[in-house]
Symmetry: C2
Subunit: 314 residues, 2 copies
């Protein structure tokens, strides 16, 4: 009998969103990682050679592959003694700040949970995917995996216990992500972070973050735009991204609501109220990076409301 | 001919609201300061002997009285050459953390604006009242005057330019304020503030503040409760308030959503979903202060939705 395979895609995510460092992220529609999972009689997690543009860069060893780690973390909560077979198509660039490790982990746990007849809710899956983040970047953070699993904007209010809050957002919100072809490891981009910040900058940051939450929830685009400011992390991380200031200025000149670093970078995101503005911004941002002799990919998408998608189930 | 007098009351306010230091405040219904303002032919601002429980503690010199300063700041934006007569009933205790200076300033500018046929919107009046705060406590902060003038919860997203955001909130939200009879000058309670905070504590603070804004806006009481935590300011200011930890614990034991220091203290506020819980908390909090031999006043109120109230207009 042919084993049952379930294939799921999970999306790229933008963490931090300018003013919400380590506390919020949102999902977009593309790019997505695709993971197929099947149950087998042979114990252990077997990951097949990995496809997709970036697959050759990843290990197929389950204990250091984010899909493998997430699945193992899931299985640890079951009494299942059999094995798991995994096919992974890696479309998200690594070290890009687009939640690459989170997308594979989210797709993997979403798929295996379906094979277990939805043993867990999507929210319950977050901790399993967080374990993959621990392997990928040293901390089990949730600001990529939570939006990858739940869609939309997700606030991580706290970790003890994990408290994730889905933030309503207006319909017409488009995201531009431009990924320059340099790799920035999350670990490295965390090293430049200050350990201490001034209370004054803290007040500015949480005032803006509160404004962002209010603007999203009440569909106030101007407020969203005014709030997309980061006085703490962007100034130090911008130094790791050649041309960042020019890229940001080009986005703002294109009419976006705001622009900042996606996650730990080097990708840069912008939010717009209109697809044509988002497109114009993509072109301008790519040109600004090109002036620094950097090749780029641009991704355009509304905010993801679909969560992970089942691609096939047979 | 008798001069026209307008009499306005403006309410006490709770700034900071646990996690939103220097960024948010809300108004309650009582206590209120009452200000009567009339126009006269004699130049200058004349403040009559001040009534109310705390009137004798205030100066009638316009340039150091918050009502006087706010009115002068208002008049500076007009071409008015005449004088102003002011009667003030001071019901809010001074140095209490309940926005005492803000209430007098807000009532004063609201009243004189009515005499000038609403020359300005309520929001436009905020900067005039902020000037009074500068005199009263050294900084022209808006987190008391803005809710005193607009009612409800008001976020101060930024000061350059001033950006105030009214935050929707659920109907059933009751505030208990217990004021122990010790005076804490805003200036002194600012001295204990750290100049620097850890980035980690910053993340915790803005995650909670985002949770509070989301909880208020989406009427999620549990989220409001979980978010009412302050890891930065409360720990240092609590040392200035005898019995604070016991008072807070007694409020929490009474079933409130959360409890923290009102503004710069020493008053302590709690939010509840029910008037009877708010009342039970008041009794418990007063008893806890009494155990430290402190006399107290307790104030119970829903969140103020009335803004300043016109008491008489003749």
């Amino acid at each position: 009998m042919k084993n049952k395979f379930i294939t799921v895609s999970a999306p790229a995510t933008v963490a931090n969103v300018a003013c919400g460092f380590d506390a919020i992220g949102f999902a977009v529609n593309n790019p997505c990682d695709i993971v197929s999972v099947g149950l087998t009689n042979f114990p252990g997690i077997h990951i097949h050679p990995i496809g997709g543009a970036y697959g050759s860069l990843l290990s197929t060893k389950a204990e250091i592959n984010t899909a493998g780690v997430a699945i193992q973390s899931f299985l640890n909560k079951t009494k299942y003694k059999g094995g798991v077979e995994v096919n992974l198509t890696k479309n998200l660039p690594l070290g890009s700040g687009m939640g690459s490790s989170a997308a594979s982990a989210a797709a993997a746990v979403y798929a295996i949970n379906l094979l277990f007849d939805n043993l867990f809710t999507a929210e319950d899956l977050i901790p399993f995917a967080m374990e993959a983040e621990r392997i990928a970047c040293g901390t089990a953070h949730a600001d990529n995996v939570a939006p990858a699993l739940l869609g939309g904007f997700v606030l991580i209010r706290g970790y003890n216990p994990l408290d994730v809050v889905q933030i309503p957002f207006p319909e017409n919100l488009y995201c531009t992500i431009v990924h320059p072809h340099i790799e920035l490891r999350t670990e490295d981009s965390r090293k430049v972070l200050p350990k201490e910040i001034s209370l004054k900058n803290g007040v500015t940051q949480w005032s803006n973050f509160a404004g962002l939450i209010s603007g999203l929830t009440t569909k106030n685009y101007e407020l969203i735009g005014r709030s997309l400011q980061d006085v703490i992390v962007e100034p130090v991380r911008a130094t790791l991204i050649p041309g960042f200031n020019e890229v940001k200025q080009s986005a703002i000149n294109s009419g976006v609501l705001g622009c900042s670093i996606s996650g730990s970078g080097p990708s840069v995101f912008a939010l717009s109220t209109d697809e044509s503005i988002a497109n114009r911004a993509a072109i301008a941002m790519q040109q600004a990076f090109a002036n620094y002799r950097l090749k780029t990919d641009a991704y355009l998408s509304p905010i993801n409301i679909n969560k992970p998608q089942i691609i096939s189930n047979n």
